[in-house]
């Protein structure tokens, strides 16, 4: 429930629009009750065969209610959906802003299919919190109270019976449904996530599955996950049925009691016979209007689970602590210095890298070498302030003093230190868009220089659309080497003083790799380069200095 409250707080800016929707909804429900009550009165009164003129007010009212219901309902639906979608916009913005602080180290254990389910599915589903739960309950609370007042004014005991019936239908029935459904939902939400993960695994592995003939078996695995979801869904059906049953019985009871008490009141003379039909028929109308509430409340456990999954991301602790009073990165040439640096991922029990002593002089080209698994990417993450050092120091040293990265705002660290990742993400956009990420104002000429330095310009020029060529999802239209070199060009475009390159020669053929490394020295003139690699032999020439070698920490498996 606290997760739902957090979600409601995010939607607060949209309150005025939600109130408009609430008013329209109350008006529509009121028109339904008005139609039932006035037509019951009209027919009863008419049975006394009074002069026609005495019926004219009721005739007009019946017609007016008949029209108003449809019009107000249309207005309510539009206003409610507009407001709900605005709330979703707020929610997505909040969630993304949070993710942007967490990635990559803070999201390490989340599977990407699951994260997608949270971002799109869960957030989308939360619209129903307003559309199907809050707004209907709000407008029906107003109209329910008014109806109880009307019936109670005619026959007090029938009013009390109706109030009891409505409470059971609007609160008791949903609670009963929720109690049964909650158990199912506990398996339902993870089962949905598991299905999304299984399907994503299957699709991404499709070429290999196809080539190994493992298709039927892989599909059977997904079908088994699907069957578990279907079984959970069948169990939740009983809950929905139970809620409707309780609400139906409550509606029957309050209608029957109202009729019974009304007949007694007419016999006693405390109620005019003309009003008996109003007392007996209005409860049917209000219960019918309230019927959707059971289905609405049935969604509450599901909504609470979605809210919890969304809030779990929003409330995750930062992987790095931002300093209270951040210091500035020193101006001018910058050195990188590590002393006894140990690194460990959040929640892990062993170090991923270190202890490391490292000195990278301003303008130097330093190689840190080590086999796979020795923590090269982890060191890159620490240099970019994505990961908190577990021990030791990592300092940016200027001519007039040094700061530890922990004393500087993360964004400031990344303005001074850039990264070309080992497995760079290429966005589903054009070549130019992917490059301008690093330098939004860059001219086409600057892009071409960076591409030339990455030895990619000839290829880009051979494309019919040149820089405007789309690269496909995850760069699927590029070869592995082309993807890597787009990332290198992008890193060269960024205006940073220290550039960290994590396995930059991965996916490059030997001559291209050597040539690229030779060019890199010139292309990155004036910048400090820290290259993490397991192939130091590629870096010939006097510019390159060998830094420390890394060894895999023991017992990582």
């Amino acid at each position: 429930m606290s997760a739902l409250r957090a979600i409601l707080a995010i939607g607060r800016p949209v309150t005025p629009r939600l109130l408009v929707a609430l008013a329209a909804g109350a008006g529509a429900a009121g028109a339904s009750i008005g139609l039932a009550a006035t037509s019951a009165w009209l027919i009863s009164k008419a049975a006394e065969q009074p002069p026609i003129l005495t019926l004219m007010v009721a005739v007009t009212a019946v017609r007016a209610f008949g029209i108003a219901r449809g019009v107000l309902r249309y207005a309510e639906r539009l206003a409610a959906h507009d407001a709900a979608f605005r709330v979703l916009g707020e929610l997505r913005g909040t969630m993304y802003t949070r993710l942007a602080r967490l990635a990559p180290a803070g999201l390490a254990e989340l599977r990407s299919g699951d994260l997608l389910a949270r971002l799109v599915g869960d957030v989308d589903g939360l619209a129903d919190l307003w559309l199907r739960v809050l707004l209907p309950y709000g407008s029906l609370a107003v109209i329910g109270a008014a109806t109880v007042a009307l019936v109670g004014w005619l026959v007090p005991a029938a009013g009390i019976a109706l109030a009891g019936g409505l409470l059971v239908a609007a609160v008791g029935a949903p609670l009963a449904a929720a109690a049964v459904a909650r158990r199912a939902e506990r398996t339902l939400a993870p089962a949905r996530g598991a299905l999304a993960d299984a399907a994503l695994d299957l699709l991404r592995g499709a070429p290999e599955i196809l080539a190994t003939g493992a298709g039927p078996r892989a599909i059977a695995d997904v079908a088994a996950v699907d069957a578990r979801l279907a079984a959970a869904e069948r169990r939740s059906a009983l809950g929905a049925g139970v809620g409707g049953l309780v609400a139906g019985l409550a509606a029957g009871a309050s209608t029957w009691l109202a009729l019974l008490l009304g007949i007694v009141a007419v016999r006693e003379g405390s109620l005019g016979g003309v009003a008996l039909a109003v007392v007996a028929l209005t409860p049917i109308a209000i219960h019918e209007v309230m019927a959707p509430l059971v289905a609405a409340a049935r969604q509450l456990p599901g909504l609470a689970a979605s809210a919890a999954r969304v809030v779990d991301v929003i409330r995750r602790p930062d992987p790095v602590a931002e300093p209270r009073e951040p210091r500035a990165v020193p101006d001018g040439p910058l050195r990188l210095r590590a002393r006894g640096l140990r690194l460990r991922y959040p929640g892990a029990t062993v170090d991923a890298a270190g202890p490391l002593d490292l000195d990278v002089a301003a303008g130097a080209r330093v190689l840190v070498t080590g086999p796979s698994g020795s923590g090269k990417s982890t060191i890159a993450a620490a240099c970019l302030r994505f990961l908190e050092p577990a021990a030791g120091s990592l300092e940016l040293v200027g001519e007039r003093g040094a700061v530890d990265v922990r004393e500087v705002a993360g964004d400031d660290v990344r303005r001074a230190v850039g990264l070309c990742e080992q497995d760079p993400h290429v966005f589903d956009a054009t070549v130019a868009d992917n490059l301008r990420l690093a330098h939004p104002g860059a001219s086409d000429h600057e892009l071409e220089s960076a591409l030339a330095a990455a030895r990619l310009l000839d290829w880009v020029r051979s494309l019919p659309d040149g820089l405007a060529t789309p690269v496909g999802e995850h760069g699927s239209r590029l070869s592995g080497g082309q993807r890597q070199r787009i990332a290198l060009a992008r890193a060269l475009l960024a205006d940073v003083r220290i550039l960290v390159l994590d396995e930059p020669t991965e996916h490059l053929d030997e001559p291209t790799a050597r040539a690229f490394m030779a060019d890199l020295d010139a292309a990155a003139a004036g910048r400090t380069l820290l290259v993490l690699t397991h192939r130091p032999e590629l870096f010939a020439g006097s510019a390159w200095t060998r830094g420390p070698g890394l060894v895999p920490p023991p017992a990582r498996r």
């Binding site: 049975a47 913005g93 999304a196 929905a240 049925g241 029957w256 007419v266 796979s372 990332a487």
Partner: protein
């Protein structure tokens, strides 16, 4: 009725018994509504005009109680049946959709977004719940119940019966008209939702990159614009879509109001009894109820119908043209790649351009060339995953491809060389082991991953293959997370190689098997590859590492070219 709707109805036959039960329960409920109206009218009229008390009305009052309880029970049973309707159909569609997506191959998949497909297979198909569980039974009830109600009204008041009989048919007419209008809007909405999902997935996957460049905050505005576009498109759709609900509500409530006013005036004129008037008043709304519920459910199932159309589009996508379906020669005498060129989609280049080589059992042939030369594409052509634009790959027979037909396995030309496109794809792929550049590791144990292409491989065989590639110190029982998390990238690649080795296939294709490996691991992998060749496999490996090239018997360079280049010239 649209084609997808018809196919959905056909798929629904899986659950037709449940559908009949759901309709039967709804119809019984409708009949009880008529009885309820009779009893209510009788009790109110007698108490009002006849001044009868509870004692005199004991029979109708107790009957009414029984009817009310029974109706609640029927509604409950209907709900349970409805929920059980859709499961079987959904599971069937989901499996058909996913297997098709896998079978369509990488060329098709490169143009699809896997996250959009997942969204379609999960949330998209979930929208069918409302379609089967509620809309379909309600459709039947919408046709039956109004007729029953009008028949009952006819016995009481002809004018009221005619009012209802004339307005009820207007409702489906209006709904159909407006429904057609909203169709185009609806399609656009689903497209926008898919785009949103894709954009979110792309941005989230790239968050580390965005953060490294300080560009993560800038995406907030982009995502906000996407969300706003989503809201405005959806609202535009809803404005039209809700019109049909509006027409329905308006017609239903206005005609009930007209019936009430008409009955009132005829009562005042003395043409009707109060009991009849009340019966008509209580019963008339029941004629519209199934249609109103149908309207409410129809909007809920619209998304399902759209998703079904997208699912059928995937299920119906044409597969690669089937070849002659021949069996590969036994034993396989090698591969002959003959002037193979592949045009890359969206780029006017051939990569590879005119690649030719022969590899025989016991040989290790390295394919080299610059990045983007189409080395990986060449392996996909050998596998039959991609059809070459020009040239062909032929499998050699046991005689090494001589012209003479040998025994019963003679091919169509009396030649034992068979184009891979003429082979039965499954039979061919069962003879080929392939290690892609980034082997896909599934969430599961390392041993399960190694067994992917050889489910029956013994524990000893798995351990042997793993130790051959230098993975002896990784426990086969180690359980991996998504994309093999828990292993380093070099270890992941070696699991992929062990997976290929354990199959002991006569043809072995390796795409950059030693990239990302240190010298020791590289040497181990090359020893294992050599051992496979010595065991009789024809090995083709894509490489640019000197270690890998040095371990090969021969090296063949491939290059790319612009489409329609001057003859014989290959850029590189």
């Amino acid at each position: 009725m649209s084609a997808s709707l018809r196919r959905l109805l056909a798929s629904g036959r899986v659950a037709s018994a449940a559908l009949v039960a759901a309709v039967g329960l709804g119809l019984a409920g409708g009949l009880l509504a008529v009885v309820q109206a009779l009893l209510l009218a009788r009790a109110i009229a007698a108490a009002f005009l006849g001044r009868e008390g509870v004692a005199e009305l004991a029979v109708p009052l107790s009957l009414l109680a029984a009817v009310l309880v029974t109706r609640a029970g029927l509604a409950w049973a209907g709900e349970v049946v409805a929920q059980r309707l859709s499961g079987a159909v959904k599971a069937d569609l989901r499996v058909r959709l996913l297997s098709r997506a896998v079978m369509l191959g990488p060329r098709w998949a490169a143009d699809q977004s896997s996250s959009e497909l997942v969204l379609l297979a999960t949330r998209g198909l979930d929208a069918l719940d409302a379609f089967y569980g509620r809309w379909l039974p309600q459709l039947a009830l919408g046709a039956i119940v109004p007729v029953v109600v009008v028949a009952c009204l006819l016995t009481a008041d002809v004018v009221a019966a005619l009012t209802v009989a004339l307005t009820v048919p207007l409702i489906p007419v209006f709904m159909a008209l407006i429904g057609r209008m909203s169709e185009a809007h609806r399609r656009r909405r689903w497209a926008t939702l898919s785009r949103l999902a894709h954009r979110f997935a792309d941005v989230v996957a790239g968050l580390p990159t965005l953060r490294a460049f300080g560009a993560a905050e800038a995406q907030v505005g982009v995502l906000r614009r996407i969300t706003d576009a989503y809201r405005t498109t959806t609202l535009a759709t809803l404005r039209v879509a809700f019109l049909s609900a509006f027409a329905l509500e308006l017609l239903a409530t206005i005609s009930v109001a007209l019936v009430a006013v008409g009955v009132g005036l005829r009562l005042a004129g003395g043409d009707l009894s109060l009991e009849t008037g009340l019966f008509v008043l209580v019963l008339a709304p029941e004629a519209y109820l199934p249609l109103r519920r149908l309207g409410a459910e129809f909007h809920a199932s619209e998304e399902g119908l759209t998703a079904a159309r997208e699912a059928f589009a995937v299920i119906d996508a044409p597969p690669a043209p089937a070849g002659a379906g021949l069996a590969p020669p036994e034993p396989i005498g090698g591969l002959s790649i003959e002037a193979v060129s592949v045009e890359q989609p969206g780029r006017d280049v051939l990569a590879p351009a005119g690649a030719s080589l022969v590899v025989r059992p016991g040989e290790v042939v390295a394919v080299t060339g610059p990045s983007g030369a189409g080395k990986s594409t060449l392996l996909a052509v050998v596998l039959g995953l991609i059809a070459p634009t020009a040239g062909r790959v032929r499998v050699l027979g046991p005689d090494g491809g001589g012209a003479a037909a040998s025994g019963a396995r003679a091919s169509v030309e009396g030649d034992s060389r068979i184009d891979v496109r003429d082979l039965d794809p499954d039979a061919w792929r069962s003879r080929v082991a392939w290690v892609p550049q980034a082997p896909w590791l599934f969430a599961g144990s390392v041993a399960d991953n190694v067994r992917l292409g050889a489910p029956d491989a013994s524990t000893a065989a798995v351990a042997e293959a793993m130790s051959a590639v230098g993975l002896a110190d990784v426990a086969p029982s180690l359980v991996l997370g998504e994309r093999g998390s828990g292993l380093s990238s070099g270890q992941r690649r070696r699991v992929g190689i062990a997976r290929a080795l354990v199959r002991r296939a006569p043809v072995l294709l390796l795409d950059e098997p030693t990239a990302g490996l240190d010298a020791d691991a590289e040497a181990a992998v090359m020893r294992a590859v050599r051992a496979a060749a010595d065991g009789g496999a024809a090995v083709l490996l894509v490489a640019h590492r000197p270690g890998a090239v040095a371990g090969a018997d021969r090296t063949v360079e491939v290059g790319w070219a612009l489409v329609e280049p001057p003859a014989g010239e290959a850029a590189g």
